[in-house]
């Protein structure tokens, strides 16, 4: 199944037309996207480094994760909304852009892992500190989000 019709439809929506018409809309949306990215990066970094035992060891990992969960969800919401808006400006470019495709591909496991980690920590009776699987997941999550960031920046170069 090709997603081409979906991108083609999106490229012809009123939203896309409005984004095209506006001089500053894309720039403003992109800046908000970057600020959201910084917040998400902070949360992902701290939760995963805690799981790897690098920082905040004095406090159980599940507490840290629970504390930061609302910020994780909020920053993801900002990134999703601004991201979808940005694509409307250049839907066809995105569809054919290798960096965009790579970013979307990396985004799926990155999101699944992040929410998986948070859910796993929220489950009662777990001992995530000594858990190798959790540490592996934390390392993978950091690498995947780094990849998402690099691929995201690269969209503009291709």
């Amino acid at each position: 199944m090709s997603l081409l019709p979906l991108f083609h439809w999106y490229d012809h929506t009123a939203l896309a037309a409005a984004m095209h018409k506006s001089t500053w809309a894309f720039a403003v949306v992109e800046m908000i996207h970057l600020i959201g990215l910084a917040l998400l990066g902070g949360v992902v970094l701290i939760v995963n480094l805690r799981l790897l035992g690098v920082i905040l060891r004095q406090r159980p990992a599940d507490r840290i994760a629970r504390d930061l969960s609302p910020l994780l969800v909020a920053s993801m919401a900002v990134l999703t909304v601004t991201g979808i808006l940005m694509v409307s400006e250049e839907a066809m470019k995105c569809y054919y852009n290798t960096a965009f495709r790579l970013k979307m591909l990396l985004l799926v496991p990155a999101l699944l892992l992040s929410f998986g980690i948070h859910r796993r920590l929220a489950a009662a009776g777990k001992q995530p500190d000594s858990d190798r699987v959790t540490k592996l997941a934390a390392g993978a999550s950091l690498a995947l989000w780094f990849g998402v960031g690099v691929a995201g920046r690269a969209i503009g170069y291709l």
Binding site: A27, E30, M31, L34, I35, L37, A38, L39, L40, G41, G42, V43, L45, I46, L49, I55, L56, Q58, R59, R63, I64, D67, L68, L71, F146, G149, V150, R153, A154, Y157
Partner: protein, 165 residues
């Protein structure tokens, strides 16, 4: 004064390494990507400490512990940001000199550096008294709001540089 600064930018712009970086196909975008990711690291970690000061996240964690364990990550990001930023500036020094967004970014950077300096030598001296408090003193919260605002401004101004070129 202003003329000599421009002359300096012109000289820097025309040095061998600057020209090589500016004309490179891959190195310039790689340095630029590193710069963007490093800023994300800096702002993301600083924001966590600021949000702790505001009592929004990690409320049960002592302020000194959050700051002590998270800010070293900020410094790593800051080092990468500074080195890559200087490289990008050297490559496009003359363009940067005339760019209003770049000028604004430098002003904001100076202010954002001043803020933690003042914070550290004033209100943070008494941190032992409010280390465990979910809600920190007004001046600490003010510093946090200023930091969040200034860093957001730096991201915005930094991104805007490309729109003025």
């Amino acid at each position: 004064m202003s003329l000599s600064l421009l002359q300096f930018c012109q000289w820097l712009n025309d040095t061998g390494p600057s020209t090589a970086l500016r004309e490179s196909v891959y190195v310039f975008p790689i340095v630029e990507s590193l710069h963007t990711l490093a800023i994300t690291l800096v702002v993301g970690t600083v924001a966590m400490v600021d949000l702790r000061l505001l009592g929004i996240v990690l409320k049960k964690e002592p302020v000194s512990r959050v700051a002590g364990q998270i800010l070293p990550l900020t410094w790593i990001g800051f080092a990468v940001m500074l080195v890559s930023g200087l490289m990008l500036f050297a490559a496009e020094a003359v363009k940067c000199y005339h760019n209003p967004a770049f000028r604004l970014k430098l002003i904001l950077l100076a202010l954002v550096g001043l803020n933690p300096l003042i914070f550290h030598f004033t209100i943070y001296r008494s941190v032992a008294r409010w280390d465990e408090a979910p809600r920190t003193p007004g001046r600490a919260r003010l510093a946090a709001v200023l930091s969040l605002t200034l860093w957001s401004g730096i991201i915005v101004a930094g991104r805007a540089i490309a729109y003025f070129n």
